[in-house]
Structure formats: structure tokens, C-alpha cells
Amino acid sequence: MVNLGEAWTEKFMEENPSVAIAVTGGGSGTGIAALINKTTDIAMTSREMEEKEIKLANENGVYPVEINVANDGIAIVVSPQNPISKLTLKQLSDIFSGKITNWKEVGGEDTRIVALSRDRNSGTHVFFLENVVKLGNKKNKEEFAKDVLMMPSSQAIVEEVAGNSEAIGYIGLGYLNQRLKSIAVAKDDASPFILPGEESVTNGSYPIARGLYLYADRNPGMDARNFIDFALSKEGQQIVKQMDFVPLKKI
């Protein structure tokens, strides 16, 4: 998501040479912490702010406003050598929580499953935990199994899945390439299996999708306001598409 922020900033500063914007990565939490501590004007996140964080911000005199600026689908990927091509959310939950450990239990070959996850510094990890492993139910006690490998970046997951026919992982749509096979996912047994893609994410039929947000104080500076408007403009949304995320509306 840092890449998207940088692309927006580049274009925005080209059009408004008097404005200087610095983009820093580090994860959604880093951005939110900076917003709370007033060291940034805009925080870019791939998850919604937690109540606790909003409270902390209020105590510091910051009143964050949430703006949905783009969407992102999370693709489940395996090696092209793996015969599996579709899974339900429940099966995914069982795989990542360690209840299913062999591919034959979901109709594949008799080999063990190597599950790969992003590490806890990633907004994607939290999103996947809440919406897939816990199946969207906050009270659900399921967790990532202890032996799920925690990878430091999406690229690391791509490398490992591409070279390991027993591996399964999840990545943003932008990271899909020829060396990986994405899995069609169904919300439950009665629902159809849907492949991730721009259209299925925008129309909401693909079950593992999320919003990307900008957070700013309710009284942002003029420049911050202009930047947010820019992100939502046709030009800004075009950049969203170029960066392999999914625009709010079909362009």
C-alpha cells in the first residue's frame, strides 16, 4: 500500500509543486500511531481504526475521519503443480488453523500442507485472521496454527509458493503472476466458487476483499484536504488501478 501512497504523492506534487509530502511505510499501525501522535496529517491503512486507538487519538485532541479510497482483494495462491483449484472459507480456516494438514482432506494429493502467512506487522495478517481464520466472527477462538510460517513480505510468500508444490499462501491481487495459481473461493458450501479479480472484488462477490483507507483529523489542513480529494478523483482512482489495487468504481 506504500507504493500506492507514493504514486499518488508523486503525481499530486507534480501538479502542486508548492506542496511537499513525505510518505513513510511500516504498516497500518505505524500510520495510525503517527496520526495519534500528530506526526502525520494523513494515515493510510488497510484496516479500520480500533476503538482503543480512536480513544487515544481523542485524548490527544485528534478526531480521525475515515475515507475509503480503494479496495483490495486477497488472493489465495498455490503452486501451479497443485491440482486444487477451489476451496471454501471454512476449509481455508481449517487449513490455516491447523485442523486440515494434508491436501487429500480437501481433494488433493496425499502430501502435507505448508501454510504461509504474512507476519503480524501486516494489515493483511489481521484481516485474514479476522475474516478467514475466525470466519468473520470476533468471538471465534480459532487462531493461526503455531506452525504456520510467518513471512516478512508478500514477495517472500510469492517466492516460497512458486517453488513449493505443498505450499499455500495469501497475497494482494497485485502480486499475482504466472508462477502462481489463484484459488476460487466460496463463502460457504451453498455459494458459488469465485476467482479473485477486479470485477469480483468491486461487485463484492469475492469473499476475501477489504477496503483501503485514509485517516485524517476532522479539521485537516488545506493541503491534506486537497490530497484526499485527489485520491478520490478520477485521476487518483486511475493510479489505484495502475498500482494493481481495485478502484472504488469501475473505470
Binding site: I32, N121, V148, N164
Partner: protein, 290 residues
């Protein structure tokens, strides 16, 4: 005239610089303690240190440090077991056997190893070493404690080699001459006289190597798999103390228990490296005053 004022001034400046460094160490320790005290007052220390579950973002969160401590120990032990024999052999060769003109080339070469950025070693580990380890041992994934250990051994070797080499070189010449005069062969002299005399230096080298390895972050984050299991074999993935702090600090909710728990990990790491370095220091000094 000029020197009378200048010299005390320079002395005072140097003295002050030394004091400032110590002050920084103390301040870092105080800072770590202050941030982690919040965590340790809310949690039972014994439960944290013996807890086997590391689920910091669950509800309720579980902060068991044991898998992380074990992870660090496995990787460090593996690295030391690989690095120490190789370093010993290299140091003995450089200081006792190698012809003079090779000596400098070898020393520079080994020290150059320390100049490789750890992220580069990590990258080599992912693309070259990890698939190799996976195939040899038929593992589900090449991201394992062993992979990390091998890469870390490379990082520890320059330190260990140069300190052992120093220790061997500083064994008084008369010891060696005495042994040879008594009819001992070169190898007997090395094994029975030089190595025992250099022993405290060797221990110090090993300890400093441990200190170097246990604090390393980038390599282990990239190639050890980071799964917080209780490891029973070096072929399993592990999650180390350093990798946990590095990867979770970015996304942690400020002011939460998890945030303070990461400082708690930092404190545990600080205490471990402090004692490792202290041991190294004791051995280095023992050598000097004997």
C-alpha cells in the same frame, strides 16, 4: 605554555566521551525497564517466561516468551556449533601454519565477510540455501532454524576468527620455543601448549560470537520461517526474540499490552546479551592479568 592547557583539555574530552557512552547504555537500560515494567506488573513473570503460546493479538492475548527464547537459543546454538570449529581451524592456520604472504590475504578475506550487509545474506539464504536445505532433508519448507544457523555462522565467523587469532598470537613466544626445544612436533605444540594457553581468549571469542548472533535480526526474520512453535529439532522453523520485535513493532497498537510486551522481549534480550558479554569480558581480562 600552550601544551599545558591543551593536554588536560584533550584528556578531559576523551574522559567525557567515555562517560557519555556509559551514560547511553544506562539510559537505554532505564528506558527498556520503564516501558516493560508496565507489562511485567500486569502479567505474572513466571507465566510469561514459561508460557508456550505466543498469541499477542488474540482475545485474550497470550504472551508466552518460551517459544521465542527457545527459537533464539536453537538458532544461536546451531550457528555456534557450525562457526566455532571452522573459526578455530582458520585461526590456527592463519597464525601458525600459513606462509607469511598468505596470512594477510586470508585475514583480510575473512574480515571482508563481516562487511556483507545482513540483508544480502538473508537474500542468499532465501533463494539459494533454503531450497537446498529443503531438498537435502526432505522438509516441508527450507525456512528452518538450520538455514538461519548456517547464515548466522557466516556472520559470527569474522569476529570469532580474529579474536582467536589474536589470542594465539599473544601466547608468549618462549612457550612455543620451549615446547619445540623439548622435541615436540609443531602439531603437538599447537595442541598441548598454544591452544591451552590461548584458551581464555577462545572462550571470549565464542561468547562474543554468541552475542553477535543472538542479536542479529534481518537474517533470521527472512529465513527462519518465524513460526512460534516449541522447537524440538533444528530442522523446524523457529521465531526468535529479535524477529518478533522487528516484525510486530510496526503494527502494534500503541499503549497496548502487546506494545509493552515487545519492550519486555527487548529487556530479556538485553539481559541475555549483557551476561554473554560480561562472561566474554571476564575471560579476556583473566588472560591479560595472568
Amino acid at each position: 605554555m600552550k601544551n599545558r592547557y591543551l593536554e588536560p583539555l584533550i584528556e578531559a574530552t576523551i574522559f567525557l566521551s567515555g562517560l557519555i557512552v556509559i551514560l547511553f547504555v544506562v539510559l537505554i537500560f532505564v528506558f527498556l525497564l520503564r516501558e516493560s515494567i508496565v507489562f511485567f506488573t500486569n502479567q505474572n513473570l513466571l507465566e510469561v517466561l514459561s508460557g508456550k503460546d505466543w498469541y499477542p493479538i488474540s482475545d485474550p492475548p497470550r504472551f508466552g516468551f518460551l517459544p521465542l527464547i527457545m527459537g533464539s537459543l536453537f538458532v544461536t546454538l546451531g550457528a555456534i556449533v557450525i562457526a566455532v570449529p571452522l573459526s578455530m581451524a582458520a585461526a590456527i592456520y592463519i597464525s601458525e601454519v600459513s606462509p607469511r604472504r598468505f596470512k594477510n590475504i586470508l585475514k583480510t578475506g575473512i574480515e571482508l565477510l563481516a562487511a556483507i550487509p545482513s540483508v544480502v545474506l538473508g537474500f542468499i539464504g532465501i533463494v539459494a540455501l533454503s531450497p537446498f536445505i529443503k531438498n537435502i532433508f526432505n522438509l516441508p519448507s527450507g525456512l528452518s532454524a538450520l538455514t538461519g544457523s548456517i547464515m548466522l555462522a557466516f556472520m559470527a565467523m569474522p569476529t570469532i576468527v580474529s579474536i582467536i587469532e589474536d589470542a594465539i598470537t599473544s601466547v608468549p613466544r618462549s612457550y612455543k620455543e620451549g615446547a619445540l626445544a623439548l622435541g615436540a612436533t609443531h602439531w603437538q605444540t599447537i595442541r598441548r601448549v598454544i591452544l591451552p594457553a590461548a584458551f581464555p581468549g577462545i572462550i571470549a571469542a565464542v561468547m562474543l560470537g554468541i552475542g553477535r548472533v543472538i542479536g542479529e535480526t534481518m537474517v533470521v526474520l527472512m529465513i527462519t520461517g518465524n513460526a512460534a512453535i516449541m522447537p524440538t529439532s533444528i530442522l523446524q522453523p523457529v521465531r526468535t526474540l529479535t524477529a518478533t520485535v522487528a516484525s510486530e513493532m510496526g503494527e502494534v497498537i500503541h499503549g497496548s499490552q502487546h506494545y509493552y510486551a515487545l519492550y519486555g522481549i527487548g529487556l530479556v534480550l538485553f539481559v541475555i546479551t549483557f551476561f554473554v558479554n560480561l562472561t566474554a569480558d571476564i575471560f579476556l581480562h583473566r588472560k591479560r592479568y595472568r
